[in-house]
């Protein structure tokens, strides 16, 4: 990387300065703002906020929704990616396009769609009501919309890697006597592991920060269906400014950590690829 030659261009200094200001002002200043505002009332606000039952519950709920979403989208993401790359069937390009739908839709629209299906008087509501299963204004619908929104990340990371690797290694594995499962776990999975990890990291960041869709389907039941982002939303409305900023800082810390991990993984993957 360091071997990249940079030809002398007039005004290069100005260009660099402009970029630095852009990235600095736009991206870092708000982050610094959050840190300062959150810690302004003193360090005691940290323990006070983070030990409040509402906050603990909200953070736990976000953790649960994120964990389920990551597992589900990673599992199905690998299967869908494999099918998209390795199988040729009618409707494949339609499926390929459909995968990107969550990128194109506003999360609020996703929440409204869930309301149409599961909300009061919704199409599927009678089915679940008859069985006493609460979907809307409860955990199931919140997980559902988060999964929907996170579907593309794993697939879009894994597909190009599977395409690049091609079929030869899997064919070789089978001629050597490996079953389909042995081939998947010993050959395919190790080859896509970095792409998969990258996809999981992106999914986590997205699920942790999700608010639009969850806002609509949660019903905003304080202490019940309130995620970390929804807590921030309410605390701010109720003028609990330090608490709002404190939880925001926590989420920011999670996201920044993930960003660092992602960068690290990407470097590793690039190094691994350049070896072949």
């Amino acid at each position: 990387m360091s071997a990249v030659a940079t030809p002398k261009v007039r005004g290069r200094g100005w260009l660099l300065a402009a970029c630095l200001v852009w990235v600095g002002v736009l991206l870092l200043v708000p982050l610094v703002g959050i840190v300062i505002t959150a810690l302004q009332p003193g360090i005691h606000v940290v323990t006070q906020t983070l030990s409040a039952p509402d906050v603990i519950h909200a953070v736990e709920l976000t953790a649960v929704i994120t964990a389920v979403s990551v597992v589900v989208t990673a599992l199905f993401g690998v299967v869908v990616a494999w099918v998209l790359v390795r199988q040729r069937f009618w409707g494949r390009s339609l499926m390929n396009a459909a995968v990107d739908l969550p990128f194109a839709l506003s999360p609020v629209a996703v929440g409204l769609a869930a309301l149409v299906l599961f909300g009061p008087g919704g199409w599927l509501a009678p089915f679940f009501e008859a069985r006493g299963i609460q979907i809307i204004f409860a955990l199931p619908s919140m997980v559902l919309v988060t999964v929907f929104i996170c579907v593309p990340f794993t697939i879009r990371e894994v597909v190009p890697v599977l395409e690049e690797i091609g079929l030869d290694e899997e064919d070789a594995s089978r001629t050597l006597g490996a079953s389909v499962w042995q081939t998947f776990f010993r050959v395919t999975l190790p080859n896509i592991r970095w792409a998969l990890t990258y996809g999981v990291a992106l999914t986590t960041a997205r699920a942790v920060g999700e608010i639009g869709a969850v806002l609509i389907v949660s019903g905003l039941l304080q202490g019940k269906t309130e995620t970390a982002t929804l807590f921030i939303f309410r605390a701010y409305e109720e003028r609990q400014i330090p608490a709002a900023y404190m939880v925001a800082l926590l989420l920011a810390a999670v996201s920044v950590t993930l960003l660092v991990v992602i960068e690290f993984l990407r470097h590793r993957q690039e190094r691994e690829r350049s070896r072949t």
Binding site: D171, A172, S173, R174, T175, L176, G177, A178, R275, T276
Partner: protein, 357 residues
């Protein structure tokens, strides 16, 4: 340990495209059989069907007394070597070679001993802990071969194994594979588009063209007694002279080329003559020609000749038999061992003189 393979009426269709049509041949036990043909001739598809990587549309494959057609890839126990090595990039050389034994749940001690044995066989013991990306192309293909041989397959299938290597490495590996095969005697099927490779390595050659078998025979038979114009033109270099059959000869203007007694009187025919069968030495042959160019290829020369009817003819002449023939000379030449066939429908009179072989 060696087993013959019988392929019967093998056909493969991909949608409406028929890649392989009614292919039948027997690969003798312990021998190397080469499937030779240009790209797109269906030879790799035949090999992949033997391995079980493609399912035949019709026909059957028998290995020894075993009907293979209904078995899965996993059950067939064939060794397969791919053109682009297909090594597992996340495994060391030793793990690659041991893979076939590991998935068959062989004992660890047995596996390790076998891996050592095979790395020794392919002269790569010092590279056991390297990754494929750290090896050269030739080394990778030797690892691939060791990996394919490790589970002691009954047959070895090689799909253009030297295709991705440069000329020098290809030569070395070819010779090395020949020795290895003499040592192991495992029934092998080699797919190649390189006629030289097929002639040098194979005990038997199956020439394929557009999904069909053109001829099956020993290298000598294929080279000296081609049964179709395609084989005559594809295996070894040949001059193609198009004419008409009159009295058992192919006539091109005043030139009469013998060997067409089996063709109908008046039919359009093509006579194939190898460059080294065009003799300029005696100087008193039947055919008159003008020397257009003499190019030295080392120990022999390529002499380009123009016939009275305007056709070109290439001769390969050892330098010590040239006898001072130079550009612009009018000489007489002899055409030996011509092979006459009915002219192919597509009148592509190819005169490809590729190698001085």
């Amino acid at each position: 340990m060696s087993t013959r393979i019988v392929v019967e009426g093998l056909t493969k269709r991909f949608g409406s495209f028929e890649a392989v049509t009614d292919v039948t041949f027997t690969a003798p036990a312990g021998a190397i059989t080469a499937l030779l043909g240009p790209s797109g001739s269906g030879k790799s598809t035949v090999l992949r069907m033997i391995a079980g990587l493609e399912e035949p549309t019709a026909g059957r494959i028998v290995m020894g007394d075993e009907e293979l057609t209904v078995k899965s890839v996993q059950e067939r126990r064939v060794g397969f070597v791919f053109q682009h090595y297909a090594l597992f990039r996340h495994m060391t050389v030793a793990d690659n070679v041991g893979f076939g034994l590991r998935v068959r749940k062989e004992d660890k001690a047995v596996r390790e001993a076998r891996v050592r044995e095979l790395l020794e066989l392919v002269h790569l013991e010092p590279f056991a802990d390297r990754y494929p990306a750290q090896l050269s192309g030739g080394q990778r293909q030797r690892v691939a071969l060791a990996r394919a041989l490790a589970p002691a397959p009954k047959v070895l299938l090689l799909d253009e194994p030297f295709g991705a290597l440069d000329a020098k490495v290809r030569q070395d590996l070819r010779r090395w594979l020949d020795e290895l095969h003499r040592e192991l005697g495992v029934t092998s099927v080699l797919v190649t588009h390189d006629q030289e490779e097929a002639l040098e390595l194979a005990n038997q050659i199956v020439v394929m063209h557009e999904g069909r078998v053109e001829q099956v025979g020993s290298p000598g038979e294929i080279y000296d007694q081609p049964v179709t114009p395609f084989v005559a033109g594809f295996v070894g270099a040949a001059n193609v002279l198009n004419g008409e059959v009159i009295g058992g000869h192919v006539h091109l203007g005043s030139i009469r080329i013998p060997g067409a007694a089996h063709l109908d009187e008046g039919a359009a025919a093509a006579a194939f003559v190898r460059p080294h069968d065009v003799r300029v030495a005696s100087g008193d042959g039947d055919v008159s020609a003008v020397v257009e160019r003499v190019a030295s290829l080392g120990w022999l020369s390529r002499v380009s000749l123009r016939l009275p009817g305007g056709e070109t003819l290439v001769a390969h002449v050892p330098n010590d038999e040239l006898h001072g023939v130079g550009e612009g000379d009018a000489i007489r030449v002899d055409l030996r061992n011509p092979k006459a066939f009915l002219a192919p429908h597509e009148t592509s009179a190819r005169e490809e003189i590729t190698s001085p072989a």
